[in-house]
């Protein structure tokens, strides 16, 4: 018998249309424990947590706090029951200062001095230091998360829910975070729920794991009694290849000893590309690189070191301050509307909701975005052709949805990503930019994505793989460049690459 359950959900269900996001889920969170909730995207973890915090109202089921049934109709009720959540997408008001954000959601008189003092005191206690007077808009991501956690802890919650907390953090920041979490749990007897799809976090941090798949709980276990393979199998329901540093690609090894003559032509070139922000901050500094047909070029680096700018440039969303971008040997003006897409650059963006899909439109409409003219006659959309095109792609890419006319928002994250992939690949590009292509995806979907990328490369498309996950780069890339503060700090072939070497370059250590 473990400690008593701080919160307990019985037969919790929630459906969106015909899709059951959560189907009769039972879960118990205990005091003094970190409870991992593992699952693929669309497995229902987020929905489950949102029901506990009152952001989603369950269709049926019971929630018991300290043994008595409760009705959590909104976050106010959740807070009064001692349930707090640190959100994946931050819940801070950027225009306000740190202390104002921390005070938000308290009750009683607004006492500036007291709140500022508390920010400092909690910063000491949990190792979460942050300037109480800074405006949140001016803070980097890691610090924003600290503010978020402080805000949550200030209400002394008995149960603290973390939703994918490390997806925006560096490894060091992640370690610090988990250190603080341990303090919170062990010294203060709180209960922590950690929602994640990262197996290493589950194994390294939690006491107990609940695994979800397709809206159901498929397994519960003590962390000490399980291993990565077992967790992964339970999560996807079959054996999966776990990532390792080894790389099975035979094709690429042939390219490791290239002779100048036989190397394929460059499809994408950056020549001294510099991007400076209006305030003068240099986001990309004199970057030069060459991507050849059929090659996967990995761009490694801790997030926020210029990767996003590269993807934005090639999406035509920004333009460079100086330097040239060449596609198939021709200089293109990326700032000109539609120039990159005409030149044959396809992009799987890092944030699909931001620039990848239109949530309010249908699957078919999202699929036709790249080339609407193909299913239209003199500007008039041919509905039949549109449906046919969409059904074909839905089948080929195994997109789970109710049909071509399903609104995009009804799809799970993984299936939305498949829509993006389907559209970008079928546009027959010369260059495919894959920015964090497996972010937020489960093991099964990651496997699907990496297979697809390999296959696309084998048809002669040059792939620019931008990723902050070293494993992904090492597994897929033929060649690797490392970015640090917008500058290229190293370039090497896969065979020359070691984790240690890349890790040093990522940290700006050039010795």
């Amino acid at each position: 018998m473990g400690p008593p359950a701080a919160i307990c959900a019985r037969l919790l269900s929630k459906s969106y249309g015909a899709v059951a996001a959560c189907d009769a889920v039972d879960i118990e969170l205990h005091s003094g424990e970190i409870h991992g909730i593992l699952g693929e995207n669309g497995a229902g973890k987020s929905t489950l947590m949102k029901m506990l915090i009152g952001l989603v109202v369950p269709d049926s089921g019971t929630i018991l706090v300290d043994g008595s049934p409760v009705q959590i109709s909104d976050p106010v009720v959740a807070a009064s029951l001692g349930i707090g959540m640190v959100h994946q997408h931050f819940s801070l008001v950027e225009a306000l200062s740190v202390w104002e954000n921390v005070a938000l959601g308290d009750s009683g008189r607004l006492d500036r001095t007291a709140v500022r003092g508390a920010v400092g005191e909690m910063g000491e206690r949990y190792g979460l230091h942050v300037d109480p007077d800074a405006r949140v808009a001016d803070l980097p991501v890691g610090l924003r998360q600290r503010v978020e956690i402080l805000k949550c802890l200030r209400r002394e919650p008995a149960i603290l829910i973390f939703d994918e907390p490390t997806s925006v953090l560096t490894p060091e920041e992640s370690d610090e975070l988990f250190g603080s979490l341990r303090n919170v749990v062990e010294q203060e007897g709180r209960s922590v729920a950690l929602v994640s799809h990262k197996l290493t976090e589950m194994l390294g941090v939690t006491d107990r794991v609940t695994i979800m798949r397709n809206g159901r709980v498929v397994e519960r276990c003590l962390t000490a009694e399980t291993d990565a393979g077992a967790l992964a199998r339970a999560m996807v329901g079959r054996d999966v290849r776990l990532r390792s540093g080894s790389r099975p690609s035979a094709r690429a090894s042939a390219e490791e000893s290239p002779s100048t003559d036989t190397r394929p032509a460059p499809v994408l070139e950056f020549r001294g590309v510099t991007v400076a922000e209006s305030r003068g901050f240099v986001e990309l500094d004199d970057l030069s690189l060459v991507l050849r047909a059929g090659e996967i070029l990995g761009v490694a680096g801790v997030e926020g070191n210029g990767q996003r700018v590269i993807a934005d440039l090639l999406s035509g969303l920004r333009s460079q301050t100086s330097g040239d971008v060449l596609v198939s040997g021709e200089v293109i003006d990326v700032g000109r509307l539609g120039a990159t897409i005409r030149a044959g650059v396809a992009v799987i963006p890092e944030d699909r909701h931001d620039s990848g899909i239109v949530l309010g439109m249908t699957v078919a409409e999202n699929l036709m975005l790249a080339d609407p003219a193909a299913i239209a006659d003199r500007g008039v959309i041919d509905r039949a052709a549109m449906g046919e095109m969409a059904r074909g792609l839905i089948e080929r890419f195994a997109i789970m949805c109710t049909g071509p006319n399903a609104p995009m928002w009804t799809l799970s994250g993984g299936n939305q990503q498949r829509v993006v992939l389907a559209r970008e690949i079928t546009a027959s590009p010369k260059v495919l930019v894959a920015a964090q292509p497996t972010r937020g995806l489960d093991v099964g979907a990651i496997e699907y994505m990496t297979d697809q990328l390999r296959q696309v490369a084998s048809t002669g498309v040059g792939i620019l793989l931008i990723s902050s996950e070293l494993d992904e780069i090492l597994e897929l890339a033929d060649r690797i460049v490392v970015l640090y503060r917008g500058e290229m700090t190293g370039e090497m072939s896969r065979s020359e690459a070691t984790r240690e070497k890349i890790g040093r370059l990522m940290g700006g250590d050039l010795t």
């Binding site: 037969l11 459906s15 969106y16 249309g17 015909a18 109202v57 369950p58 269709d59 049926s60 089921g61 019971t62 049934p69 009705q71 109709s73 999406s315 035509g316 969303l317 509307l337 539609g338 120039a339 897409i341 005409r342 992009v347 963006p349 931001d354 620039s355 990848g356 899909i357 239109v358 949530l359 309010g360 439109m361 409409e365 036709m368 975005l369 790249a370 609407p372 003219a373 239209a376 500007g379 008039v380 959309i381 509905r383």
Partner: protein
Amino acid sequence: MSLAVGSGRGTGGRVVEVVTIYVVCGMAALVFSGLIVEAVGSDWTDVGKALLNGSVLKPGRWGGTIGVTIPLAMVAIGTIISTKANLVNIGQEGQLLVGAATATYVGSRISAPGPIVVVLILLAGVLGGALWSGIAGGLRYWRKVPEVLTTLLLVAVASNLVGYGLKNPWLLLDPEAKLGNRNMVSRQLPLDTRMPRITLWGNEISISAFLAVALILLVGWMLSRTIWGFRLTVVGQNRRVATRFGISESAHGMIAMFASGGFAGLAGAFMLTGGDFANYRLVPGFSVNIGWVGLLVALVANNRAMAVIPMAFVFASLRTGSGFLASTGIERRVTDVVQGLIVLALLLPPAIMFIRERRRALASARSRV
């Protein structure tokens, strides 16, 4: 707004529910209007009869109602275009006025065969309205000024501008109007530059009615069936996706803005040439709230092109019906009250259904505790 099915109710039950809510809200608006009428000692049945007689029942009345429907529908269909691009244009009243003014200017200056002048008047109306909304659009895309504010602010400017024009003979004032009486009117359009009117079952209607219906069908079709409409929707829903796929946000947005003002301006030109308003002259206060009400029509039509015509007709009926209120001894303004209450009543049902959905989910969760 997600309307989750699965609570065990069939589609039929839902339709009944929706219809019931609409009927109840509509009745509530009417009852409330009736109470106000009764409160001042009049009889609500008399008022109701007068409204119906004035708008459709009495011989020759529904022609006039259609005359009011036309500009309302034009304003509304234009609004739907800008809304599609996620632009909030609330300055149709001003755009309509400017359109009417440019139309008047052209109509009183150009001497050419009548039909040509009519066409030029309509074009001038479109241009005037488009120019006025275009200012807001330009500021939106080049200076990032929220269009909701500029369109609203430009209404006051438009009305002052027209007022100024009507004081000066070199602009809009009829040189023969008696200045001593401060008669601010434009010259009346000559007979041959008026929109032809035809008689149908004892009702006179301007042929602009047919033009208006054709335009509404065209816009509805363009928004839903063409690449242009598709791109406009993408721009309206996610501008970064639009940019990424080479769809110009500013170009599409400007076109939407021009179109929406252009339709308001056309409404003004139709009012000028149609004969159902102000007797073929521009006068102060010419727009008589048609811009505001047209905007309401678009919103209660929930931005569906096909719903514009019936909604515009309902609102027009209130206006023309009010002409018969004098006999009941009640102030005409009561129709403003009824109109306002009806809009509120039509706004309620979608909101109520949304709330009920949430309640139902909560209740079903509670019932299993």
